[in-house]
Point group: C2
C-alpha cells in the first residue's frame, strides 16, 4: 500500500508518517517512480507508535518498542529496553501525580480560604 492508504488505515496523516521516517522510526520500500510502499507489518509498527504516544510516551521513547517488533518479537514491550522505558515513565507519572495532588490541595485551600467571606468580617474580605 502507499502512504495515503497507510495513513487512512492507521487513522493518521501522511505528514506524520513521513515525520516518523525522518526520525528513523519507519522505513519504506520505494517503487520505480519514487513512491513509498508499505505492508501490514509497517501498519503494525505505526499502531504501536500510536498506542505508546497515547500513553504519553515521546516518539524517542517508542524507538525501543519499534526495534523490538522489527527484531521479530510478538509484542513491542517484550524487550528489556522497552520495559526500561515503561519503568522510567512510571516513575515520571508517579512524580507528576504527587505534584498535581499538591497543586490540587493548594487550589482547594485557596478557594476555601475566601469562601467563608460571608461569615468573616466583610471589611477584610471583599466578595464582589
Amino acid at each position: 500500500m502507499r502512504i495515503g492508504e497507510l495513513a487512512k488505515r492507521a487513522g493518521t496523516t501522511t505528514r506524520a508518517l513521513r515525520f516518523y521516517e525522518s526520525q528513523g522510526l519507519l522505513e519504506a520500500q520505494r517503487t520505480s517512480n519514487g513512491y513509498r510502499e508499505y505492508d501490514d507489518h509497517d501498519l503494525r509498527l505505526v499502531r504501536e507508535i500510536q498506542s505508546l504516544q497515547a500513553v504519553g510516551l515521546s516518539l524517542e521513547d517508542t524507538r525501543p518498542f519499534v526495534a523490538c517488533l522489527r527484531a521479530g518479537h510478538e509484542s513491542g514491550d517484550s524487550c528489556p529496553d522497552s520495559r526500561e522505558v515503561y519503568r522510567r515513565k512510571l516513575a515520571e507519572v508517579d512524580a507528576c501525580l504527587d505534584r498535581l495532588t499538591a497543586v490540587r490541595e493548594f487550589l482547594l485551600a485557596r478557594l476555601a480560604f475566601q469562601d467563608p467571606c460571608l461569615v468573616a468580617d466583610p471589611k477584610e474580605f471583599q466578595c464582589s
Copy 2:
C-alpha cells in the same frame, strides 16, 4: 529600583521582567535616561506571578490576579476573575489526575504481565 535589582530580589531575570511588560502584566516608570524604575509594589506583583506560575498557571491566567492587586486588594485571589481561574485550573488538574492514574495502571499492568494484552482504543493522555 532598576530592572536588575528587581530581578535579583525576585529571583528571576531581567529578560523575564521585560517579557512580562511586553505581555502587559508589569508596567514601569521610566527615568530620564530611559531606564525602567520599579518599587516594592512591583516586586509584589512579580512574586504573585511567580507563585502562580509555580502552581502551573499560564502567564495569561495570572492576569486577573495582577489586576486584582492593582485594584488595591490585599491578595490577588480575592477577585471573582481570579477565583474563576482557580476553579478552571482545579477542573483541569482533576482531569489530569484521572488520565495519569489510568496511564499508571496501564504501565503497571504492562510491567506485571510478561505476556501483555492488546491496548484499548487510543485516547488522549496529555498531561502537563
